[in-house]
């Protein structure tokens, strides 16, 4: 229980606050419309469906405000930077921005459904009211025209249409109706193209369809401009308790003038104008960054179709483990793809290692392969750098770094930076010990990383710092030929696979053993666990961190940080 609080406490708190605000808004506006006197006559026509439509509308306002904020990555980077004083637990919450974006999106979907269903009922009952199907009061209210001394209540004015088609006709000819239908359609298309299956396999479909949100927000802002939610304006002169049963004397008697109605002013723009502006700034900033010149320092094609690009950009400053978004207009104008940087901040350039995973990366690699030696690569736009949890790796006295497959990339940056900091005896380095776990099926695609480890190994031995870095390699895809090879050369000093002093382990790590060892060797430290790899492994490590953490702050405590794109 204590471990849960350490590892999930702040997230749970934020979620509770968010949900409480949602519930509060729903209940407040529900009762505002269900009990308010000015809506007495409206409720007579619509019943509680009025409140059931307006309450989700308020929740929708709030969530449409929130949805744009987690995707303003430059804004989040800024907040992250300014909160350096407030402790890593708070800053870690910013890593979960996309999860929050999805959660808010689900809420928007749910509330849209409730809102739409309630309005379906409203339109149907307004239609029936207009066609005199209910009691005399309803008929009288619906008949009120927009004349010289009357204002209408029932927004359905034209009934020269087929009775069954009237609701559809009203929806298509009123501002609220048409915008409602369009933005709901946009929302549905956005949601279906954002399903995990589509997002992971056909990123372009997801990305381009998602831009329908522009139409969504424009429609949302003008959705209320028709002012069809009408409330009574002259409650003092026309007291409904007195006058509701004296329909015939309306306008003829002094104490019962005609009830006057007016629509509520559209309020959504007040909620969303701020975030819309911030998002616009975000996109402008991305565009400015895109126009800045980026020069190629070196282009290297590594084994197994891995492309290393060393780039230089004026005024570019990075931290360890950060990532950049790259855009290559020659391949696609609108697509920005994230890549973790593999260089250290101490170097005067920044590098990325790009593996061929999909359309964009494949095209880039084939374009670069055809270039003659020594020429500049295709024009590239760079947005970033953006902060991730790796920035915190030096704050922990002890760090456990786990890189699985391609996830080893951010750790290239970290290890290089460690090497530089050690050479310069940087006092900022709080880390005393690093445990590095490298898991991969086969090392072919990562020979560049094995080279890096070899260099570090040599340097550390030369300075007598052998036990600062403990690394274990786990080859999870071994076969018979591997074991034959190892059997023959088992008594050699260096490993057969990587050429490193540290021997390769085969199969997956036994995490219980590893965590036990770390805890034993560091009985009173805060240990940061960093993973860049598959979600399944994240779950395993998160559980182990919770299990091996002590609530007592003097003993070993494990904090789990995950990187994910």
């Amino acid at each position: 229980m204590g471990n849960m609080i350490i590892n999930h406490g702040l997230t749970s708190f934020i979620l509770v606050v968010w949900m409480s605000i949602n519930i509060f808004l729903f209940v407040w506006f529900y009762f505002f419309y269900d009990l308010g006197d000015q809506f007495y006559y409206t409720r007579h026509l619509l019943g509680s469906a009025l409140a059931w439509a307006r309450a989700p509308a308020a929740v929708l306002n709030f969530n449409c405000l929130l949805i744009l904020l987690p995707v303003c990555r430059n804004l989040l980077s800024l907040i992250r930077g300014s909160f350096m004083c407030c402790g890593r637990t708070m800053r870690k919450q910013l890593d979960k921005n996309i999860s929050f974006h999805k959660l808010v999106a689900y809420m928007i979907g749910l509330m849209t459904a409730v809102h739409t269903i309630a309005h379906l009922l409203n339109v149907e009952w307004y239609n029936n009211s207009r066609r005199r199907m209910y009691d005399p009061l309803s008929t009288a209210l619906s008949d009120l025209p927009d004349g010289n001394n009357t204002t209408y209540l029932n927004p359905i004015r034209n009934i020269d249409v087929n009775a069954q088609q009237n609701p559809t006709y009203f929806a298509m000819t009123s501002l609220a109706g048409i915008t409602g239908v369009i933005i709901t359609l946009c929302l549905i298309l956005i949601i279906t193209s954002s399903m995990e299956v589509i997002r992971r396999s056909y990123f372009e479909v997801f990305w381009y369809t998602h831009h329908l949100f522009v139409i969504f927000f424009i429609g949302l802002v003008i959705h209320g401009a028709g002012r069809i939610v009408r409330s009574q304006q002259n409650l003092v002169q026309h007291n409904y308790t007195l006058c509701k049963d004296r329909i015939e004397s309306w306008g003829k008697v002094a104490e019962c003038p005609y009830p006057q109605f007016a629509g509520g002013a559209p309020g959504t723009w007040m909620w969303v104008i701020g975030p819309m502006f911030l998002y616009l700034c975000e996109r402008i900033l991305r565009f400015i960054r895109y126009t800045q010149t980026v020069k190629y320092r070196k282009i290297v094609i590594r084994p197994s179709k891995v492309l290393e690009l060393q780039l230089v950009k004026a005024g570019f400053k990075m931290e360890v483990g950060q990532y950049v978004f790259l855009n290559c207009p020659a391949i696609s104008h609108l697509e920005w793809h994230p890549f973790t940087m593999t260089s250290a901040p101490e170097e005067d350039f920044f590098s990325v290692h790009i593996r061929s995973v999909g359309d964009w990366t494949q095209k880039l690699i084939s374009m670069v392969e055809e270039l003659p030696e020594g020429t500049q690569g295709p024009r590239m736009g760079v947005d970033g750098p953006f902060g991730t949890a790796s920035e915190d790796v030096f704050d922990y006295e002890v760090s456990m770094l786990v890189g699985a497959g391609i996830g080893v990339t951010p750790f290239a940056s970290i290890l290089k930076s460690i090497w530089y900091k050690f050479k310069d005896s940087d006092p900022k380095l709080r880390t005393r010990k690093i445990y590095f776990y490298w898991l991969c099926r086969e090392t072919h695609a990562f020979e560049w990383f094995a080279d890096l480890l070899q260099v570090l190994e040599k340097e550390m031995e030369e300075r007598g710092m052998g036990d600062f870095l403990t690394y274990k390699l786990f080859l999870t895809g071994w076969d018979q030929s591997h074991t034959d090879h190892v059997m023959v050369r088992f008594d050699e000093d260096t490993d057969v696979v990587t050429g490193l002093k540290q021997k390769t382990n085969y199969g997956r790590p036994n995490w219980e053993k590893e965590f036990e060892q770390v805890r034993k060797e560091n009985p009173s430290s805060t240990v940061g666990t960093f993973l860049c790899g598959p979600a399944v492994l994240a779950k395993v490590l998160e559980k182990k961190c919770a299990k091996y953490s002590d609530v007592d702050p003097r003993k070993t405590r494990f904090y789990f940080n995950k990187e994910n794109f």
């Binding site: 269903i117 609701p167 709901t184 298309l189 589509i198 396999s201």
Partner: protein
């Protein structure tokens, strides 16, 4: 990633449309709206579309992810052969099903969504895509490595039992040791 398989998105869109038709239909019937017969139709149409679209097809490239418990639906849908395999047929079926739902406000959203799904399926059909069922792979025994030779057919050659027995006069020369001291029968 690779070439976009439109059918995957069409499938998601159609499933969503089925659910929206179902919901709109329930509201129309529950509230006894004008034209509630169309809403009743929409409920049936929604259920049909959901059943048809629930089993995900197999992706041409990459691993296909099944929806929970879709195996029985896969079998049913597969049974209709070319009617469900061909996406032109699906596009036409969806377009036809969508039309009656357009006659009532409660179901018109489902109608439009299904229409969009039908268009995406048309695009998929033009690209030559087909619906392949995701079936569990038959287990193939892994071929035994060459290093494991055929197990021996015959026992190893050894001398007959009389020769193998320990002889009292030559206990040291025997091929095995007894835990209990050997004694001859007459002792």
């Amino acid at each position: 990633m690779g070439k976009i398989e439109w059918a995957m998105w069409a499938n998601e869109q159609a499933l969503a449309a089925g659910l929206i038709l179902l919901t709109g239909g329930i509201v129309g019937v529950g509230g006894m709206f004008r034209g509630w017969e169309f809403a009743a139709y929409s409920i049936a149409a929604g259920v049909f579309v959901c059943l048809l679209e629930y089993p995900r097809g197999k992706k041409n490239k990459g691993t296909s992810v099944e929806r929970t418990g879709q195996y029985c639906f896969t079998v049913c849908v597969k049974a209709f052969g070319p009617l469900t395999r061909n996406y032109y047929v699906r596009a036409f079926i969806h377009a036809a099903i969508a039309v009656p739902a357009g006659f009532m406000l409660a179901t018109v959203l489902g109608c439009v969504c299904l229409g969009i799904a039908s268009l995406i399926y048309l695009g998929a059909a033009i690209s030559g895509e087909k619906w392949e069922p995701i079936l569990p792979r038959t287990e193939t025994r892994k071929a035994v490595g060459e290093s494991i030779k055929q197990p021996p057919q015959n026992p190893p050659p050894r001398p007959p039992a009389e020769m193998r027995r320990k002889r009292a006069e030559d206990l040291e020369g025997a091929a095995y040791d007894n835990p209990i001291k050997v004694s001859t029968n007459d002792e």
